[in-house]
């Protein structure tokens, strides 16, 4: 902004206040999530002395990594008006492949990690390509590929597979200057991606395609490339989540990703990203991830069983989604 203006100072102030109120109008949802987070913090401190310990909050921060990673990919897909129901199976498949192929050999780590990341990209791109070429709703495509990939996972290993060397656990348990590596890198990557999504042309394309794919195509945007890219990104995120899960548990299991399918959609919709596409963003998702993590933590302190936590998770999804009155009806 270097253009001259008759009264630069006053204009800046006016522009700034206009910008602030516009921001609030576009992000009521983020404000709601932040308020809910503060309420949960207050409830937690009221319920238990131990909740307030920094160590506890750090636990929540660290335990949120897997969900944050997979939800980042899901957010991109949902922004384009799609959905990826195969993330759970992709995580399961790639986690058993990771520990199964490494099988305790430190010298294989680099190759297997590279291979798994490439596989994630490929599987995701396949979802995107199938959606485009066959003209089927992504819900059906990813339901189908998800089932097929879960079958392949079980064909490869119907139980925990192989093992990883202790150094592999650095991703989940490592510390730099006292900060947990995985959680902090995830936070920084999220911030970086959120910036890219808003500030770059490619990022704006994602919103344009989600808002109105037909108009986006007419305007000459590379709609097809954008769509394949977001699914490929979701596959990549699933691959990184799989690596993280193996790093955390030391082994891959054939059902380890199953719960991630719905769980990955939850923070996305809580964070205000519309299932019909074109509206929302990554910061809302990240806040949604911390909200879910904190909620489970508070429920644990309240001695509420993990079974009821499932009930509450389902309720929250329903409330979050049904409090929208979207411009258009939601897809299947």
């Amino acid at each position: 902004m270097t253009t001259s203006h008759p009264n630069p100072a006053a204009a800046d102030v006016r522009a700034a206040s206009k910008k602030t109120s516009a921001w609030f109008q576009g992000n009521e949802r983020l404000v709601v999530v932040v308020v809910l987070l503060l309420l949960l913090l207050a409830t937690g401190s009221f319920v238990s002395e131990r909740f307030r310990h920094l160590g506890n909050l750090q636990n929540v921060y660290e335990q949120s990594v897997g969900l944050a990673l997979v939800s980042a990919g899901q957010t991109m897909v949902v922004l384009t008006g799609g959905i990826d129901l195969s993330v759970g199976s992709m995580i399961s498949l790639m986690s058993v492949l990771t520990s199964g192929l490494i099988d305790g050999n430190p010298e294989r780590v680099v190759w297997v990690v590279a291979g798994v990341l490439a596989l994630g990209l490929l599987l995701g791109a396949m979802n995107g390509a199938l959606t485009l070429w066959l003209g089927i709703h992504p819900l059906i495509v990813t339901l189908g590929t998800g089932a097929a990939l879960q079958g392949l996972t079980l064909l490869y290993s119907s139980d925990s597979a192989g093992s990883v060397p202790p150094e592999f656990e650095y991703m989940a348990y490592g510390r730099i200057l006292g900060f947990p590596v995985g959680a902090t890198v995830t936070l920084l990557v999220f911030a970086g991606l959120a910036h890219l999504l808003h500030a770059t042309r490619q990022g704006r394309y994602v919103y344009a395609v989600g808002g109105d794919p037909h108009a986006a195509t007419l305007m000459g945007l590379p709609t097809r490339r954008v769509l394949v890219s977001v699914y490929a990104f979701s596959g990549l995120c699933a691959a990184i989540t799989a690596l993280y899960v193996v790093s955390r548990f030391g082994v891959g299991q054939p059902y380890t990703g199953a719960n991630y399918t719905l769980a990955s959609v939850t923070p996305v919709v809580i964070g205000g990203t519309m299932l019909s596409g074109g509206k929302g963003g990554l910061m809302g998702t990240l806040l949604g991830v911390y909200l879910m993590g904190l909620l489970n933590n508070v429920l644990n302190f309240m001695d509420i069983s993990s079974h009821f936590q499932l009930v509450i998770q389902g309720l929250i999804v329903v409330i979050a989604v049904s409090s929208f009155h979207g411009r258009k009806a939601q897809p299947v």
């Binding site: 066959l134 003209g135 939601q330």
Partner: protein, 326 residues
Amino acid sequence: MHTTTRIPMASKDTSASVKNLLRENTLLLAIVLLLAVAGSFAPAIFKPENLANMALQFAPLGIVVLGQTLVILVRGLDLSVSSVMATSAVIATSFSGHNADLVWILPLALGTGALVGVANGLLVTKRNVSPFLATLATMIMLQGARNAWTQGAPSGNVPPLLRDIGAGMTQGIPNNAFPLIGIAVLAYVLLHQSTFGRRMYLVGGSPNAARLVGIAVDRVTITAYVLSGVLAAISGVILSGYVSVVDNWVGKNFELDSIVAAVMGGIALSGGKGGVPGALLGAAILVLLSNAVVIVGLPIHIQLVMKGFIIVAAAALYVAKSKVRS
């Protein structure tokens, strides 16, 4: 609305509808061919004991597929069926294990199914929640509630009458075929002979047009979800008699299986197309295919891969066909 608007329907008479079904279903023909090949490799598939085994597995799936079909017809999807099945199976074993308990079991199980259906239907119609997310959420909630109730412990308290219905045979015919036949006839009459059925097709084919001619679209849609919930509950009760020891996962994967069977039977995922004969045929083919995998000696997990492919292939064929037509 007392004027009887004739809406052209696929099944005016049975022979035409069967012919139509075959012409419309390249996929189905391919699968029948595949079965013939499997049969020549492993003739054991068509041995009486194996056929009886398959017949026993047919009813629980068939009943759920009929419910799933109603929901898909009105452009929906019901992922909560497996959870409803497990919950009603758990209800069936939560009493003393005597036949008298059925007085409590049936209303409780069917009521739960209906309640879940109402919740799904209300979320989809009144709050515009996408069907898959609404039913996925109710599935998870029900799963949590069920696990909290049983604490994960399996139970074998199945009333003997349910064992008879679920696993018994009468002169070579599985007992569970009788409730299936009853339900199938009712579903056929409802869908293909009644005004309500015509309304369902119209709601699925074009919700806006349906609204314009004065059909209570929301009520029709909610009814479809309620029926699907109730049918899943019935299937769960029958299945509890078949497995005889009920854990929290009875009916696992039935949400996927019921969708796969429906699409194989020509129920279009875009709504408004398909019917009862197709749904049952799809269920029969899926039972045969799953069984063939085991008999031919392939690893059992191939089943999942196969089902995934079928969903995508069926949807793709449907899209390709409607493109050719238009």
